[in-house]
């Protein structure tokens, strides 16, 4: 019987989901740069830029956490439909925090590039 060296798919899947979970906040903060979005629109935007397949509902507890950390602020805006939208935007602290996160990301990118050659 021929010996096939296959990859460990389960391990890769788990790793991918950890990476996604760990970078979601960073992605959201980047999307919110310079523009405010309401929940549904924000998710659409996140999906447009990244191949992230998570349960969309997980984004809302995340937004709640970012709000508690005072990185984003939110406000309800009434609509003609009677069903208001909740708009999110970066706070000053959020902007400064994102800047720091980007620096770290650049560093990480460099070292990953070096070792994955």
């Amino acid at each position: 019987m021929p010996y096939v060296c296959s990859m460990n798919d389960e391990f890769v899947q788990k790793w991918k989901s950890q990476v996604k979970k760990g970078t979601l906040a960073f992605i959201v903060l980047n999307v919110l740069q310079g523009k405010e979005y309401y929940g549904y629109e924000l998710i659409e935007e996140v999906k447009k830029h990244t191949a992230i397949e998570i349960a969309e509902g997980t984004l809302y507890p995340l937004m709640n956490r970012l709000k508690k950390e005072t990185l984003v602020s939110s406000k309800w805006v009434e609509q003609d439909s009677g069903i208001p939208r909740k708009y999110y935007s970066l706070t000053k602290e959020g902007i400064a925090t994102l800047k720091e996160m980007k620096l770290y990301w650049k560093e990480l990118e460099k070292s990953i590039k070096k070792i994955t050659k």
Binding site: A55, Y60, K86
Partner: protein, 196 residues
């Protein structure tokens, strides 16, 4: 919250059911957070469904809800965080218990806390065991010092291997130990939480 009105009865039923599942998940949150979460999911469903055609309403709604995920799963972080906050603020044992269970997935440290609280359960159990079987429960010493808190066999006591030291004081002493233990580990939990 203003509910969404659907054209198809099936869609309406699926929607109502989903909203109920959210309500069940957020029932323990403060009123403001409860409403906020509901409104947020409601708005999401409304915005996505308004892009769909009436004839595909049921299918589209099912897809939207599937993408959103099960409320019982996606809302866990919200609940876990809230419970931890309540638990360490009020020292209420029910909140503490719920918080520990919800947070066990968030790292080994909560498993350690679960074990520490299990000790508390054992202390309380000893109090009841003493009432039930006064001669075999107590705090035991031998010539080397402290041996155990708990239940011993009659044989060990008769042979003089161990002797009980607290007598009727066992229950009050255990009550105090339990209380101090409880306050101590809940205080540790509070510190752990603030380090998160």
């Amino acid at each position: 919250m203003k509910p969404i009105v659907f054209k198809h009865r099936t869609a309406q039923k699926i929607y109502d059911d989903y909203i109920k599942r959210i309500q069940r998940m957020v029932a323990d949150l403060p009123k403001e957070d409860r409403l906020d979460t509901l409104m947020e999911f409601n708005s999401h469903i409304f915005e996505s469904i308004s892009q769909s055609q009436p004839e595909s309403e049921v299918d589209d709604l099912m897809e939207i809800l599937e993408k959103l995920g099960a409320p019982e799963e996606v809302l866990i972080p919200l609940k876990a965080e809230r419970k931890l906050h309540q638990a360490t603020k009020t020292f209420n044992p029910i909140h503490v218990f719920k918080a520990i269970v919800l947070n066990i997935g968030n790292g080994i440290v909560y498993t350690v806390f679960a074990i520490l609280y299990l000790f508390l359960g054992v202390f309380v159990f000893c109090i009841f065991a003493k009432l039930w079987n006064p001669d075999a429960v107590g705090m035991y010493f031998n010539q080397n010092g402290f041996q155990a808190i708990g239940v011993v066999t009659g044989q060990e006591v008769e042979s003089g291997e161990v002797y009980e030291v607290l007598g009727n004081w066992f229950i009050p002493v255990m009550l105090i130990i339990s209380l101090v233990w409880y306050l101590l580990i809940t205080f540790l939990l509070k510190i752990k939480k603030s380090l998160n």
